[in-house]
Symmetry: C2
Subunit: 328 residues, 2 copies
DNA sequence: AATGTTTCCGCAAACCTTTGCGGAGATAAA
DNA sequence: TTTATCTCCGCAAAGGTTTGCGGAAACATT
């Protein structure tokens, strides 16, 4: 572990540590000649400031935390990818932890974030999170938290999320425009606020158009496949399916393929999605875009605003847009 | 930033800092009574040790670095997810950076890792990486590097990767067993060693079986879709397709669907894959599994071995296995 | 020649924790 | 009573950096 330190440079050159430190960051107090000498030696010695010492001294970690249920997820990937990009551009490092939707792990993770004195945190609460007090501890320590995607109900929090109601009603609108009247709606865990919002908006629109709606709730793609398959083989008349997420869409597409149905001619399909899954099929599945990438940019901006002392607590929304495929 | 420190606890209780420090980690020198008092106060004050101070003092960061071309990738996700799991279990935090296959960004990232004095690093070199000297700087500082998936040619390095040759010949074997004779092989960038290995093994086996082979190289799923579509519509006789990666498989499946072909009856298909993409379709695509998850576990074990002082530089291989679908 | 300004640099404290060493008091052994 | 052994705790240094303040030398101004 022969890392070069300021001290080493200072000693070999006969300057003080403070002079070296200042020279390295082009402080005007240091003469050009001295600076050059110091920079040169630092360079040949591959000097890198010890981040721990810097952070300890400056009380600023330049590390941002990110917590998601699972990295391995069509939506979060693009969010993460987008955040990482912004972090690097702005000189932050990114620390990522997964909760696996387990509140115990979630609490552990928050502790790790606190220990590492992250500058800020992006958090997607696990579906089963009951209390926010562990998050509160962070904000008590002036560590801003920006919740994204799956966010708590409470008001006085920073949140960025998709326009859930809007996305669901856009989908409903598209189904109506395509003259679909007998519809299966595939939704996720009824306890999640995201499910509730999307379901409410979807039902609301559909009722106003007098469509016949069959709602099912599935926790994963396998469940969705099973449930939809059963319905398709029952006496129920179905002319279209709506999926509230990519995960569920995968199951539904499996069911569609297994039953030998052709999209559009045999059955209509629309989903709320990040875009990756719908494009795997031909014809492409028509979807309402919820861009993790855009959400990431927005979340980062919000966190930066918090860090620069903006007191405003915000709830920001990324608008959704209909992407035409060939499935409706 | 009212973080509680050892000093605060010590002062309010009238003990010295060292006593508090020891009590908190159950050092036998401290009496039970004292320890209890200290633990209690620490608890109500939500004391968390300042990771920077700890790391600075102990010279051990407990942070592990991970660098990939892109997080948003079917293979790397599962690798990352697996690594994150192990890290958390072992008390390490994980710092993730993307290279976007840009050597300049790659160098920047390595600098960030050095500054943060990561305990170890998992690295997947970008396709265009020319020199390893930036990596060398890390190993010079006793930071072990484990290369994974796309690894340098050099010998004296820690590497974990898939059994590339074996995977390709397994696929070839399966094609032969299914009596396929006119085959399109879809491969990636011919400059990547992973492509070369897989191609060589595949061609080698096929030649021995006198199969008619048409090889194409594509850089992404769109290219693959285009190229395969053209071939399918040409006069070429084709009874099966082989894809060396998930990315390419997506394109090929698009072409298959667009041309209205049925897997197995119209055309055979086999891929080397992580498993996620093949399972999206029905029938499921038969594939040779290259598990990012397993690779992650292996890589982690190897890094731990390095950290515990094992001098052995290793090249480890994850064996591949055929997963039967319905596409052959 | 005396005073005021710059220019350039070093001192030392602070950030928070860990840990070797030593020491005071209490208990046990002789 | 003296000596040896424990028990429990504090001192102080170290890890690498940043930064307010002060000071010596050089220069410019009267």
């Amino acid at each position: 572990m022969n890392n070069t330190t300021l001290k080493q440079i200072a000693n070999t050159l006969g300057y003080s540590i403070s002079t070296v430190s200042r020279a390295l960051k082009h402080h005007p107090d240091i003469s050009v000649k001295t600076r050059e000498k110091i920079l040169e030696l630092a360079n040949t010695l591959d000097y890198e400031p010890n981040a721990f010492a810097v952070h300890l001294r400056t009380q600023n970690s330049k590390v941002i935390g990110l917590m998601v249920p699972a990295i391995f997820n069509y939506f979060y990937e693009s969010f993460i990818s987008s955040i990482e990009e912004e972090c690097r551009k702005n000189g932050y490092a990114l620390m990522i932890l997964q909760t696996a939707n387990d509140p115990a792990i979630e609490a552990d993770n928050l502790k790790i974030f606190r220990q590492n004195r992250v500058t800020g945190l992006f958090a997607c609460i696990s579906a089963k999170t009951k209390t926010l007090e562990d998050y509160q501890k962070l904000t008590d320590q002036n560590i801003p938290v920006v919740f994204f995607d799956i966010v708590p109900e409470e008001n006085a929090l920073n949140k960025v999320c998709m326009a859930d109601e809007k996305a669901a009603s856009l989908a409903a609108e598209a189904l109506h425009a395509a003259n679909k009247k007998n519809i299966i709606g595939v939704f996720g865990d009824p306890l999640m606020s995201i499910t509730q919002k999307r379901l409410a908006a979807f039902e609301n629109y559909m009722q106003s158009k007098k469509a016949k709606l069959t709602i099912i709730h599935s926790n994963n793609s396998n469940d969705a496949e099973q449930a939809v398959s059963e319905l398709l083989n029952s006496s129920l008349k179905v002319d279209a399916i709506f999926c509230m997420s990519d995960e569920l869409l995968i199951g539904v597409m499996k069911a569609v393929q297994i039953n030998g149905l052709k999209l559009k001619s045999d059955i209509g399909l629309i989903a709320i999605s990040n875009g990756f899954v719908p494009k795997l099929y031909y014809p492409q599945v028509t979807y309402i875009e919820t861009s993790g990438h855009k959400l990431g940019k927005l979340a980062f901006t919000q966190l930066m605003a918090c860090l620069s002392g903006s007191p405003a607590v915000n709830e920001l929304i990324v608008e959704s847009v209909l992407i035409q495929g060939g499935s409706l």
